[in-house]
Amino acid sequence: MAPKAYARSLFTRTNAIFAAILAIGLPTLAYRFWKGMGAVSNLSQTNPWGIWVAFDIVCGVALAAGGYTVAAAVYLFGQKQFRPVLRPAILTGFLGYLFVVVGLMVDLGQPWRLPYQFFLTPGTTAVMYEVGWCVFLYLMVLALEFLPAALEWLGMTKVRRFMSAISIGIIVLGVTLSTLHQSSLGAFFLMSPGKLHPLWYSPFLPIFFFVSSIAAGIGMVIFESSVSHRAFQDQLDPEAHVDMDALQLGLAKGGAVVLFAYFFVRLQGLVASGRYDLLLTGWGAWYALEMLGFVLLPSLLFAFAVRTQSAKLARAAGVMTVLGVVLNRFNVSLIAFNWNVPDRYVPALGEIIISITIVTLGVLVFRWIVNRMPVLHEHPEWRGAH
C-alpha cells in the first residue's frame, strides 16, 4: 500500500476511539510519574492496593491464562483440533503478561528498583519472589512459543526448524511456571486472614486461583476467538477452513468440567471454614452471586451448549466465565478485602483512565501483530507444521 493510502486507511472509527483514549491516558500516565501516585489515585493507608493491582495485575495474569491452557491441551493432551486458536492464545498470553508488567510499573512506588528482587536483595521467603521469577521466566517462554510466527513472517527457516525441535520442552516449562504463579497469586492473601472476608479467605486460595485460571483461559480463548473472527476477517485462512463453532463447543466441554470442579473446590473451602452463618448476611448474598451466577451457571450453560450444539450459548457462557473470574479476583483483592474497615476504597478517575490506557495499548499491539504475522492463519509454507 502506498504511504498515502495507508495513512488514509488509518482514519477509522475504532482508531478515533483509540486515539482519544491515548490522548487522555498518556498525559495522565506522565502525571502519575511526575507527581507521585497519590496525585491520580485514591490509594490510602488502609487500602494500599487498588485497581492497578486488582485489575491490571491479579485479573491480568488470570486472563492471560489462555496461552498455557491451550498449549497444554494441544501439545500435552493431544487435542489437536484446538491448533487454530493456539497462536492467538499464546500471543494474547504474551501481551497480557507484558502489560501486567506495565501495570506493575505504574503501581510500584519505585519501579526502577524492580531488578533488586532478582539480583541485589532477593526476598526469598516472599510469595512475591516466586511470582516475580515465574512471571519473568514465563514471559520469556511465551516469547519463545510465539517466536515461530515471527520467524515465519521474517522467513528465517533454519531457526524456525530448530524451534520446532525444542517446542515440547518449552511448553512443559510454560505449564509448570503457570501452575506455580497462577496459584501463588492466591497465596498473596494467605497472610490476611483478618482482613479478607472469611467467605473468601481460605488456606486453599492457591488451589482456587489455579483451577479458576484454567477456566479463565478457556473463557478468554472463546471470547477472543469470536472477537478476532469478526474483527480480522481478512486474516482468516481461506484454504484451511476452520469451523469456529465446533472449536468453541470443544472448548465449552472443557469449560463445563473445569468450572464444575472449581465450584466444588470452592464449596469444600466453605465446608472447611464452617462459616455457614455468614451466608445469611449481605456478604453471603454477594458470595452466592459469585458462586451461583458466575461459576455454577456458566458451568451448566457450557454443558447445555454442548448438548444442544449451540455455539452462541457457549460464547455467552465464555463471557460469563471471564466476568466470573474477574469478579472473584476483585472480591479477593479489593471488595471483600478490608471488609470490616469503615473507609472503603473507590478507584479515582485517574486510576481508571490509566488502566484503560494500558488495556488499549495491549489491544493496539495485538492488532499490529495479527495484521502482519501468521497468527490467525497459517503461513503457506508451514502448513501443518508444529
Binding site: 490509594l43 493432551f77 483440533q81 521467603t125
Partner: protein
C-alpha cells in the same frame, strides 16, 4: 515443620532447578523469629496518664515534625492512627477503669517475633534483627506495599504524595538500641507505663503484675500470642478491644500461613515436568496409532 521443609528441599535439590526458587524457605527458618534475649516493651496502661510525652520523643528521635496539638487534650476526641509522619499515637480508651479513671494506650509497630511484613517483602527491605526491632532499609524498597497488605496490625504507612515514596513506621529506635540506649519513647515516659527490657523477662513481669493484682488486671497479655507473639506487650484493667488494639489477629505466626503454598513449589517443580512429558508421550503415541489407522501423518485431525 522444619523436618518437612528440609525433606522438601532435598527433593528440590535433586531436581536442581527447584533449588534456586526454594532456597529461601530454608533461609527463612533461621531469619524468622528473634533470639531468646530480644528486646521488648511492656505497656502497663494502668500507669499511663495520656501525657503524650512518648509521641514527642518519638518524633524528635526520628526527625519528624512535632505531634499535632502537643499538650492539647482535645486530640483524644477522635481515634488517631499512626501515619507517615507520626510513628506512634496515644488514644483514649473507650472504657474507663473500674475505679472510673481514663485509660490511654499508645500504638506503634508491634515488632512481631515472626513479622508478616518482613517475610513477605520481596527485596528484604524489612528485616527482623536479632536485637528485636523490625528495621526498614529504605534503599531497597520497591514500593509494592505488600507489607501493608500483610501486616495484621495495619502498621506500615506510605508516602503517597512523593515521587520516590517510602514506607514509614516505628523503628523501635534500632539505632539507639545498638548504642545501648532504650527507645526514645520508653526513655521519655514519666509515669513508668513503658518498661523496656528483654521480651522474655517482660512476659514474666506482666504475669507477675497480673498474678499479684488478680482483681485489678484483665487476665490478658496482648502481644503474648498475637500473630505468633510481638515485642510489644500490653496489660490493662480494661479489655484490649477498648484500647484500639486490633482484635481479629490470629494467634499464630503469620508467615507460617504462607508456608504451605511455598513448600508446594518444589513439589510442582519436580513433579510437573516428568508428569507432563509422560502425558505428551502418551498422547503422541495414541496419535501415532490413530494416524496409522486412518489419515496420513502430519495432516492432523480436523
Amino acid at each position: 515443620m522444619n523436618l518437612n521443609r528440609r525433606n522438601l528441599l532435598k527433593i528440590a535439590g535433586a531436581a536442581g532447578a527447584g533449588a534456586a526458587l526454594t532456597g529461601g524457605a530454608l533461609a527463612s527458618a533461621t531469619t524468622r523469629g528473634a533470639a531468646k534475649n530480644a528486646a521488648g516493651v511492656l505497656v502497663d496502661t494502668t500507669r499511663c496518664v495520656g501525657c503524650r510525652a512518648c509521641e514527642a520523643a518519638c518524633s524528635e528521635a526520628n526527625g519528624l515534625a512535632a505531634p499535632e496539638k502537643a499538650g492539647d487534650d482535645t486530640v483524644f476526641a477522635a481515634r488517631r492512627r499512626t501515619g507517615p509522619t507520626s510513628f506512634t499515637v496515644v488514644n483514649k480508651s473507650a472504657e474507663k477503669s473500674p475505679a472510673g479513671e481514663e485509660r490511654y494506650a499508645k500504638t506503634q509497630c508491634m515488632h512481631c517475633v515472626t513479622p508478616a511484613c518482613a517475610s513477605g517483602c520481596v527485596v528484604k527491605a524489612l528485616e527482623k534483627t536479632a536485637l528485636g526491632p523490625v528495621v526498614y532499609h529504605e534503599d531497597r524498597c520497591l514500593g509494592c506495599r505488600y507489607c501493608m497488605i500483610a501486616c495484621p496490625f495495619g502498621v506500615p504507612k506510605y508516602e503517597y504524595t512523593k515521587a520516590a515514596p517510602l514506607v514509614r513506621k516505628c523503628t523501635f529506635c534500632a539505632a539507639r538500641q545498638e548504642k545501648g540506649l532504650p527507645p526514645a519513647c520508653t526513655d521519655a515516659c514519666p509515669s513508668g507505663a513503658l518498661t523496656f527490657g528483654k521480651r522474655a523477662d517482660l512476659l514474666e513481669e506482666a504475669k507477675t503484675r497480673i498474678y499479684q493484682n488478680p482483681t485489678k488486671y484483665v487476665h490478658e497479655i496482648y502481644g503474648e500470642d498475637e500473630a505468633g507473639g510481638t515485642s510489644w506487650l500490653y496489660i490493662s484493667d480494661v479489655p484490649s478491644a477498648s484500647l484500639t488494639l486490633p482484635q481479629d489477629i490470629v494467634k499464630k505466626s503469620y508467615p507460617e500461613m504462607a508456608d504451605g503454598a511455598l513448600s508446594a513449589v518444589p513439589f510442582i517443580v519436580t513433579l510437573w515436568p516428568p508428569l507432563l512429558m509422560g502425558l505428551y508421550t502418551f498422547s503422541k503415541r495414541r496419535d501415532d496409532v490413530a494416524g496409522h489407522e486412518n489419515s496420513p501423518k502430519g495432516a492432523g485431525h480436523e
